[in-house]
Subunit: 112 residues, 2 copies
């Protein structure tokens, strides 16, 4: 077998790129949030909550805050009454979408 | 923005390919197991346990059983005394490695 680049020399270490990716988008909710915002483009908090079926307010608010801190989600607050808050993906988050699409296709082909 | 193929129309549903992939390799241990077997090619149970740092016997045995059932891991038992058991990746598992490598590179470039 021809040997490819090592998938992970130190996946147990904090420096592994793959582990860092799974840390920031792994888990059921964050990947769902990313998928919904990707599909909608820009979305308000309430609509996001309705579309990420089953998520609690705490979980959604915490996940969005972490994704904002990780530079994946942009949050824009409009000074209206009532306050309107909209979320969209950053360029960085958009650049991971094609790789996730490949994973999705792999799943569709290989996991019947 | 040009609209790409939808990342996930129904990620909350069991039919979503991306969700199925995350179900079978998501989580800290399975991805570490996959990485170690990928790097070693063929590996005995005891050595795998040593290299997946911090995993318990129960967790390793259960994860390997599930990965075998999901068609990701091949288990070969040699009838020697003491019994020797070796694990390697299936063709299917090997075909996901290049996509995981892309994710890893993305992480290295985008998550400093």
């Amino acid at each position: 077998m021809e040997k490819h680049e090592s998938l992970c020399g130190d996946i147990s270490g904090e420096r592994c790129g793959l582990k860092r990716v799974l840390d920031i988008i792994g888990g059921k909710w964050k990947i769902m949030i990313l998928c919904v915002i990707d599909r909608e483009g820009t979305i308000r908090y309430g609509e996001l909550k309705r579309k990420v079926f089953g998520i609690t307010n705490t979980m959604l608010a915490n996940s969005l805050k972490e994704m904002e801190d990780d530079g994946l989600v942009k949050r824009v607050q409009y000074m209206e009454m009532p306050v309107r808050v909209e979320y969209s993906l950053t360029e960085k988050a958009m650049s991971i979408v094609p790789i996730l699409l490949e994973l999705k296709r792999w799943g569709e082909e290989n996991l019947k």
